[in-house]
């Protein structure tokens, strides 16, 4: 189905294009950093735990924006400019085109996440409660899941007028309902119920687990599973809705199968996944997880002894107190 040389060369060409396009670099790498500073200055002082506590939500926003705006726009643009139509005259398969778009998007999303992390570390001295490798792994799995979803949008959106509308329609509800913009514990219970049906919620839950609560990958296996299944299922659904040309009608039966399939997946996730730990207000003593609690306190004690894994230790400024989860300690 896929010609590996073709996949390699097409991915390479896409990466070259991404590197050479100034607008692509600005929107993919630059724009998410605006949120970092906005969130840090607006919500940072209000949030117990400061910017460190905001990072999982910010990472989720960056991933979602990269996927729903970046990924889909590039694909719609290539279809509208008939570049894909020309590829259609060659033996290259849809799978190759979708995978190569995925490679490019994974690269840009990952780069903007790493840049965000670097800036957060340099400017806000964030504290990380877990191994860097686990966090990177969760970020990559999250990026994979959302890039897969973004590619579906890229296949479905008709043109460059409908693509932004659809992207906003997906992005904003996910931003406000998943805990990415508004801390999850502040959401009313019925919205929390809706949030359990959104993939973004699982990404934030997993990231908070490995970044803030100091959990191991095994402890966030539930949300990671939801993300992995999303990545695989959404990638497979791409082959149902892929179109070479803007004038090709969308096959509604296949579209219904794809959207219905994802809906069933997230309904199942909402019903089966364990309770969101991020539902617990960091200001309150959580009743449900005393074991985690004690481990977390231990770790914080360690950190206060300057042997913790503070990611930004080198950048500590003397006048600024290290804002960390230590604030939640009663």
């Amino acid at each position: 189905m896929t010609n590996l040389r073709g996949l390699g060369e097409l991915s390479r060409a896409y990466l070259l294009q991404a590197r050479r396009s100034k607008t692509a670099i600005f929107w993919a790498l630059g724009f998410p950093q605006v949120w970092l500073f906005a969130f840090a200055f607006i919500f940072g002082p209000l949030t117990p735990g400061g910017v460190s506590y905001l990072m999982p939500g910010l990472f989720a926003l960056t991933t979602m924006a990269g996927a729903f705006f970046g990924v889909s726009y590039l694909m719609v643009n290539e279809r509208e400019n008939e570049v894909l139509r020309r590829y259609r005259l060659t033996p290259v398969s849809p799978v190759t085109v979708v995978l190569a778009n995925g490679v490019r998007s994974m690269a840009t999303v990952t780069a903007s996440l790493m840049l965000q992390w670097l800036l957060a570390w340099l400017f806000f001295d964030i504290t990380i409660n877990g191994p860097v490798l686990s966090i990177i792994l969760v970020l990559l799995i999250g990026a994979l899941a959302f890039v897969s979803l973004g590619l579906i949008l890229g296949c479905v959106a008709k043109d460059m007028r409908t693509a932004p509308a659809l992207a906003n329609l997906i992005f904003f509800p996910m931003m406000f309902l998943s805990g990415a913009a508004i801390p999850f514990f502040l959401l009313p219970p019925w919205i929390q119920g809706i949030a359990r049906m959104l993939p973004a919620t699982y990404l934030i839950e997993a990231l908070q687990g490995v970044m803030v609560r100091g959990e191991s990958l095994v402890e966030v296996a539930g949300p990671i599973m939801v993300l992995l299944v999303t990545a695989v299922v959404a990638a497979a659904f791409n082959s149902l809705v892929f179109r070479w040309e803007s004038s090709e009608p969308i096959n509604f039966k296949r579209l219904v199968v794809a959207i219905g399939g994802l809906a069933v997946l997230y309904l199942a996730a909402a019903l089966l996944a364990p309770a969101m730990r991020m539902g617990e207000s960091p200001a309150q003593e959580p009743a449900s997880a005393p074991v985690e609690r004690s481990r977390l306190t231990q770790q914080m004690a360690q950190e206060e002894g300057q042997v913790g894994r503070s990611f930004g230790q080198a950048a500590h400024e003397p006048g600024v107190p290290a804002r960390s989860v230590a604030h939640i300690d009663p």
């Binding site: 070259l16 570049v83 590829y87 005259l89």
Partner: protein
């Protein structure tokens, strides 16, 4: 037979784009598809390329059905689309290298750059190329896998005369290498210059098919002759020879004739017997353009006919 269609029809909503096209094209040479905008040329070539499905009728390209055996066919045909679609932010070298990777076998990129005369621009971004250079790159993209059949849809559209001539030379070189090229165009003099065979299409139907000479001959058009002499001439003997008097154009006498050879012979006699001397003689043979305009008729009907 490299291309064969039988009663090929394609309908878009209430518009008939192709209305029963029968076409047999053998390997070798340049075959021109000529017709006004909206005549169905692009629909026809896109069905041959497998980009569109016919509403009814049969198609076979290199013995394969483009709709069902597209994968095998794509290795063997190369095409350029009417709207030149070259990926941005890449160089011609990178674009050709990318296209080469899609095929099982391909020519070296440098060889293709040489054929389409783009070596000097190999490492410049495609957006800096001129219209003619982009079109040549599009031809290169179609050549990279050494296809048996090349299909070019209006490759010279919108190019300046020099760029067009350069492209003509490339097409003639390819023909010299024994390739078969199917070319759509609405430049008649281009078809006359390049094509071994011309197929004229109007409102989705083939209205003429043959070599440019055959078509002009078959249409039986008249030649025009202009004569300028010193003194007064009585044209009566010319009219006996079959010429029709069209009056004067400036100082020149103007005649039309179906048999220019007979008219010229008659002119010799006029000069001899009337004692006038010839100062100028010009002749224009009927061209493919005359045939074309006669066959295409009212340009207002070019939008396709209602189903």
């Amino acid at each position: 037979m490299i291309i064969e269609t039988k009663s090929l029809r394609r309908v878009y909503g209430s518009t008939v784009a192709l209305n029963g096209v029968d076409l047999c094209i053998e390997a070798g040479g340049i075959i021109g598809l000529l017709g006004p905008n909206g005549a169905g040329k692009t629909t026809l070539v896109e069905i041959l390329e497998g980009l569109r499905m016919p509403s009814s009728g049969e198609v076979s390209v290199l013995g394969l059905d483009p709709a069902r055996q597209g994968r095998a066919l794509k290795e063997r045909i190369g095409a350029q689309l009417q709207s030149t679609t070259i990926p941005i932010d890449l160089t011609p070298f990178e674009v050709l290298r990318l296209y080469a990777s899609f095929y099982e076998r391909s020519l070296p990129v440098d060889r293709v750059l040489q054929i389409v005369n783009l070596k000097a621009k190999a490492n410049k971004l495609t957006r800096t190329l001129s219209g003619g250079q982009k079109q040549r790159l599009a031809i290169g993209m179609a050549l990279i896998h050494e296809p048996e059949l090349l299909i070019f849809d209006e490759p010279t559209s919108g190019l300046d005369p020099a760029a067009r001539r350069q492209l003509h030379e490339i097409l003639l070189d390819l023909k010299g290498q024994g390739r078969t090229i199917l070319l759509t165009t609405h430049y008649i003099e281009e078809a006359e210059k390049l094509c071994d065979r011309v197929v004229m299409i109007r409102s989705g139907e083939v209205v003429a098919d043959g070599s440019p000479f055959e078509l002009v001959g078959r249409a039986g058009g008249k030649s025009t002759i202009w004569i300028d002499v010193e003194g007064d001439m009585d044209p009566a003997p010319l009219l006996v020879g079959g010429a029709e008097d069209q009056g004067r154009q400036g100082n020149h006498y103007k005649f039309t004739t179906a048999d220019p050879a007979a008219t010229i012979v008659a002119l010799g006699e006029v000069l001899h017997t009337q004692g006038v001397s010839l100062t100028d003689l010009r002749m224009r043979r009927p061209t493919l353009e005359d045939v074309y305009l006669e066959l295409m008729g009212d340009p207002e009907e070019d939008e396709g006919v209602p189903a």
